[in-house]
Amino acid sequence: MKAFAQLLEILALTPSRNRKIEALSRYFATTPDPDRGYALAILTGAMSFKNVKPALLKETVLAEVDPHLFALSYDYVGDLGETIALIWPHHGGTEELPSLAELVELFTITPKPKLPGLIGSLLTRAEINERWALVKMTTGALRIGLSARLAKTALADMSGRDLQAIEEVWHGISMPYSELFDWLEGRSDRPDIDHAARFHPMMLSNPIDEARDLPALSPADYAAEWKWDGIRVQLIASGGRVSLFSRTGDDIANAFPDVVDRVFGDAVLDGELLVGRDFVPATFNDLQQRLNRKTASAKHIAELPAFIRAYDMLFDGAEDIRALPWTERRARLEAFLSREKQHVIDISPVIDWSDAEMLAAIRRRGADEEGHEGVMLKLRSSPYVPGRPKGLWYKWKRDPNVVDTVLMYAQRGHGKRSSFYSDYTFGVWKGNEIVPVGKAYFGFTDAELKELDRWIRNNTIASFGPVREVRKELVFEVAFDSAQTSNRHKSGVALRFPRINRIRWDKPAGEAATIDEMLAFIPAS
């Protein structure tokens, strides 16, 4: 545990990517199995304990610490795990903590009623860094600025294997990953995985640089498609079994039985999950009502049926076609969809274009009239490469809408922003009052954050728990991708992807937008 705690601290505090990789590969090279495998699971977010959850930790701490003092501390520190690690009042015991593998075993086999006692005694025995690591590993939210990709990069660095080869096997293996380490260290062949039934890391696009990239692209080389306003999914159909994965490899099949129960044929497809009748996409807001749920209600399925707008194919039957160029994969996809009658899959059409100016006009019209997020440009000869390779796929998002709003409430942030007032609710005029239209957490620099924080402290008129209400005097120019009607917001408007574009220290609040101006952003449907 000591070594793992040290590793976590280095990862959390070292700004240099190379030094993080160095620390990781040193740890993996010097830590025995199965400890390093469990560490890898924790670092990549693959570890979770059924019974050890943040709520249980909180309960354990609140048995020892006054709840009000805990609340004040949490509000100040901004990170639950770190608050618990710092506030734990008992320190002592000379006995070393168990190894990672022993801890995993303990957390798994200990009956629920005995868990608070176990966790309490571990926290007491731990040194401060270990206490922090212990809490982090049990809550699952590391918040140390480490991507799973970096952990795998370190494995590649340590073993000399190709990163992509590691990504390939990743979703077919599980902790403590001994077969992975055996292969990395040359003791066995590459782990065999059932390719058709496993999540395959997705190919992602880069934002286009309008000045640099766009003029160089020609329709002969790049195909254009709409950028759909849904969520990216991978659909895997194999021998009657259908799985549905989100972009990060989370299995979301249970939430969309209306899709997975109605797919025919064997294939691995890449596409956009949308809701709507007869393949007419509804808004993202509608889709959102079906996301983050474990199951779907009959009412939801009836009102907001889901479908997939496919745009790529990774496997045709059992055949891996990812190395083929996009044009050939597209032809295979079209053939598959016409061969197998599908009720819940259609194809994302290719947009005809001749030059950048024409495409810009199409993109603007699509955004204004149909609410598209923008257009995608895909190199016709591109193979399907996991990750975000340069120069193959571009996204060209619609220009954001911009509106002047008034800051209403502020809340302390979490993670990197902890203890600063960094979460803002803003609103627009409705008659003589201001009604909230959205929240934003980013779009400002660290220096601006400090200034805002100070302004908020000096202009607070009321506090509700962690939320401060401020004088309605500061104008934020807010950018957003689109606006939709909403009955969850008092104003009746919800903004998609709002962010602070500029802080208008100079602008009087009276000149901020009105609700009627906001409603004009909602596309007529």
Binding site: E9, L69, L72, S73, V77, I87, P89, K416, D446
Partner: protein, 333 residues
């Protein structure tokens, strides 16, 4: 308790003097030399001899009209009042103000700490009726570790990276000298390199009898000469262009705030050293209990939690919200 003879802006009513006033006053009692407590431009200043020496070094000989040095423990009688200064353990010369008038005892702690420190006179516990305390680290998440362990972590890092310089961000008055002294205690006797802003105050500490070992200005040393060395600089310089002259520096900051890793992360600190010159939560509670004060006023810091705690203990407690005293995360004590 009867109406206290101290006002909530720390005006000592019977003698019309203010403690650590943020604006120029005719009569000021200064607890210690940090800029937010000791300001220039007062009429008559009462302080310990060390604090007066520090003020004159920082602001010039004529930063107040007159100075009256009051050594620790000596009682000054004035208009029916007894005033004495007692070690606060915060930095060299730092004092708590003990005042007695009309049968009432009031202690104003100024900033204070209770852990041993070779660069400051050790904290003295004073019983009183009204305790006016700081609460810079007044939340139960602040439980400062033994500074010797932090120094050991620093020395381990110095040994692990022989080609990198370690630059430690420290407040120039107090923290810098304490870190240097802790390094010496930890067995480090190589020269320590100083940013220009540190030199004068380190020299003053030595003059006042605090040995700091070999110190050299960092300014004239070529980059390669600082490999494997320890450099002390103000926190602002650590993150600034100044530290680019150092070979691949490890950025360290010595402060009580550094216990919060997210905070260290957000300020880009690679090696946070939890070394504080203030009491932590446990020592705050200990002090409140041991002074046996029935009333507690909290000058600045995380006052909500301490006031709440005192009220839970059945004491009368209130925050004074003295915003002139720096206590934000940006201010490294």
């Amino acid at each position: 308790m009867a109406q206290p003879f101290l006002d909530r802006d720390l005006r000592v009513r019977p003698i019309d003097a203010y403690i650590d006033p943020p604006v120029p006053r005719e009569r000021a009692i200064i607890t210690h030399g940090h800029g937010d407590h000791a300001r220039s431009g007062h009429g008559a200043v009462l302080a310990t001899p060390d604090t007066i020496a520090i003020m004159k070094t920082r602001y010039g000989e004529d930063c107040a009209r007159t100075f009256q040095p009051l050594p620790y423990g000596e009682v000054l009688e004035m208009d029916g009042m007894r005033i004495s200064l007692h070690p606060a353990g915060h930095i060299l010369g730092s004092a708590q103000v003990l005042m007695e008038f009309g049968g009432q005892r009031i202690v104003v702690t100024g900033d204070y700490k209770r852990l041993p420190d070779r660069t400051a006179q050790p904290f003295e516990l004073l019983e009183c009726d009204l305790l006016v305390t700081e609460a810079t680290f007044g939340l139960p998440v602040f439980q400062h570790p033994d500074p010797a362990l932090e120094i050991r972590r620093l020395l381990a890092s110095v040994a692990a990276y022989p080609s990198r310089a370690h630059v430690i961000g420290c407040y120039a008055l107090g923290k810098a000298q304490r870190v240097i002294s802790l390094l010496r205690e930890g067995g480090y006797d190589a020269p320590i390199y100083l940013h220009g802003a540190m030199i004068r105050l380190c020299a003053l500490y030595e003059e006042l009898g605090i040995p700091l070992g070999p110190l050299l200005p960092a300014l004239d040393v070529p980059k390669a000469g600082l490999e494997g060395r320890i450099v002390i600089a103000p926190p602002s310089a650590v993150k600034d262009r100044w530290s680019r002259r150092l070979p691949d520096p490890v950025l360290a900051v010595a402060s009580g705030w550094m216990s919060v890793k997210q905070r260290a992360r957000q300020s880009g600190v690679e090696l946070p050293l939890v070394i504080s010159d203030h009491v932590d939560w446990n020592e705050l509670r200990q002090t409140v209990a041991e002074t046996r004060a029935q009333t507690v006023w909290v000058t600045h810091g995380r006052e909500d939690a301490l006031v709440y705690y005192c009220q839970q203990q059945g004491l009368a407690a209130e925050p004074l919200n003295i915003t002139a005293y720096d206590d934000g995360p940006e201010d490294v004590e």
